[in-house]
Symmetry: C2
Subunit: 412 residues, 2 copies
């Protein structure tokens, strides 16, 4: 049973794959309040200045700054308080030399004023007057018109995944509907004569399918819509027919194939039959996850993930997640939520291969420790019992206890 | 306008608050495939061994290990291949001395065998026989019955927030429905005479409400259901009535109040009137976010967040998010997805106060740099334009360019 592996590093596999992919085109308009996590479909420009009027940044008094120049504790500036502008209101009051108007945080300033004196920098002189104990510069404690955003400015670029503050930023400008890109659709096919549905009691020799559901959950966390396209036996014609039919309605296809040689070969043959250019990478230099297949059929990425649940999730995160990100139209940098931790045990590895292993994390005095959980990658509970996946870089021949290791924290 | 601030550190405010909170009691049973992110309501025990039969971890041959003892390249062990057990099937074949049966990854072993020889460690001798080039130990390349999980073992503890692999782990055991805790309900009230709904064009002196929506989005990311309870003027009776009515149907209440002294006082008075013990903390030693109020009314946490959108989000993450976590019933450690970055500019601070400021992140050669975005905390777009929030610890009087700073990455 010889096998040709076109074994590559994950980085090399991605470098070959990603440039062949383009963001999906579909768009939809959604209420901004429901747009959290969606991708902005076109540059958004501000329809107005924000704020539209000069606002006080403090509680105090709006004044003409020059009336306070030279003021000090020993020689305060005396100002007459001629009005009070309640928050949310405006006033036609226009002040003259030596006058001040009560201002509230977020409220408007009186006409003719150019600065706000904080109430803490004043003291009452008499019923109608205050003493200003320090000078203010023109513009001090004032939020100027357009200081947050200027009319016409691009406030969100196409490709931004909307966060809580982005939703707030759009609503601040009265943008209550937002055009976003459609979510990518990912089809998932689990193959293997040994698989049964989770709701069944598997007959002897069979086990329940897990990968359809773990991969669907991770795809959803990546902002994709996952479609379970079925559980198929190791029969080439059946797999090809299901893949061909499924591919019509999805943007990406994931096969969770068996890990035996024959089933891997079958996945590769199916992928080659689905469209051009077919299989790009057959085998990646990581452990676990070596028997991985990456292909493209007419612009759509296809992934053959190893059947082992641990390998399947590791490879999904390494290869399929970045591909889904391209499809989603998200642009800008992607910072991996990785932390550094101190290894509690020696971990052997082989130079030239990236190793990944689940770890349990613990924190004490601000230092995070990572304890490896060793186990065959067939064992789903090695992942269930872990807090993250640690990585041994390819140039390393292993890590010693006490060395720093990079840990990818699971998204929940 | 004097004001008494019972100013505390965020840690102190939390230490006073969290012990007064208890997880919500409500439970519901959901399909496991839809339970991602939910909190497990009771310890889950495995109804069976996983796997239920010994499985091959490799492609090769199931053998009696002792038949391979002493085998080497120069003196291989000769075994007769007497059967082939396809994946997903079992067989009554029982082997004798000097015999082997073809085994596939994930498949069953023949009766009487106790190990699997990898195909790569064999070579064909003749049509019916193979030569084994290295010995295997008993159990080698075999996943034993119950090696992943033993029947009766607690596989997930009450309080686990379900991740992709946890969903898979439950389904592997045939647990297709899972009892989870109800999501906490958070009511949000925005107060301020200066506020208008986002769908309106605000009249002069008013601005659109942002905080209801940014806080609702963050609450949703924390696994809570957010209810917008309305936009209220700075009228004590109206605020108290709305808060009292809202509190009946929620587990926690958030006021986004104005930042002027009078409105902060009003929030504190409303909270004191809602139930015992009332206000716990009035003012926290952080910038921005000092005018924060933390209270408890009959077991439910109440938060008065500053009206400034930047402060409101920072304080939500520091105080409200940990409280929601307690209410949610989630247990176990909470690792903040913080990264270390190199500051690009000096940042002044005051000793004894934690400072937070939005930063833009950039990555080159594996090093992450954080560039501060300075701006008044009224400006929502300082957050929109940022990638995370950097923190200057309270013991620091400031940080210099080139120093390491901790950055909390926004969740999307």
């Amino acid at each position: 049973m010889p096998e040709f592996f076109n074994v590559r590093s994950p980085a090399r596999a991605l470098a070959d794959l990603l440039p062949r992919l383009t963001p999906i085109e579909g768009r939809e308009t959604v209420p901004t309040t429901e747009a959290l996590g969606r991708i902005v479909a076109r540059d958004v420009r501000s329809p107005e200045d924000l704020p539209t009027f000069a606002r006080s940044a403090m509680d105090g008094y709006s004044v003409r700054a020059r009336d306070t120049f030279g003021a000090s504790e020993s020689l305060p500036a005396l100002l007459e308080v001629v009005a009070d502008i309640p928050t949310g209101q405006t006033s036609d009051i226009e002040i003259g030399t030596g006058e001040a108007v009560v201002a509230y945080t977020g409220g408007t300033l009186a006409k003719g004023t150019d600065a706000v004196v904080m109430v803490e920098r004043t003291q009452p002189a008499d019923e109608r007057s205050i003493e200003v104990l320090r000078p203010v510069a023109p513009g001090e404690n004032v939020i100027q018109v357009g200081e947050d955003v200027r009319k016409g400015e691009v406030v969100l670029k196409r490709g931004r995944r909307l966060r809580a503050q982005d939703v707030g930023g759009l609503l601040a400008l009265g943008i209550v509907e937002t055009e976003v890109l459609r979510r990518p659709k990912v089809g998932i096919i689990s193959t293997g004569d040994e698989l049964a549905a989770p709701s069944e009691t598997p007959p002897p020799g069979k086990v329940r399918d897990i990968n359809t559901y773990t991969i669907a959950a991770r795809a959803a966390q990546c902002g994709a819509d996952a479609l379970a396209l079925g559980l198929l036996p190791d029969v080439y014609e059946a797999q090809l027919a299901a893949a061909r039919e499924g591919l019509k309605s999805v943007d990406a296809l994931i096969f969770s194939a068996g890990s035996s040689l024959s089933t891997r070969d079958m996945t590769a043959r199916v992928f080659d039959a689905l469209g051009e250019p077919g299989v790009l990478t057959h085998g990646i230099s990581i452990k676990p996850g070596k028997p991985t297949i990456v292909a493209v059929a007419d612009g759509k990425p296809l992934f053959g993930l190893p059947g082992n649940p641990v390998s399947a999730l590791v490879v999904f995160d390494l290869l399929a997640a970045p591909a889904l990100r391209v499809l989603s139209g998200e642009t800008g940098q992607s910072l991996s939520p990785a932390i550094s931790a101190l290894l509690t045990e020696d971990v052997p590895s082989e130079s030239g291969r990236e190793d990944f292993f689940p770890v349990r994390l613990s924190e004490s005095d601000g230092a995070v420790s990572a304890s490896p959980i060793f186990g065959k990658s067939n064992l789903i509970y090695t992942l269930v019992d872990s807090d993250g996946i640690a990585r041994v870089p390819p140039e390393s021949g292993g890590l010693y206890a006490g060395e720093v290791v990079e840990v990818l924290i699971y998204k929940t």
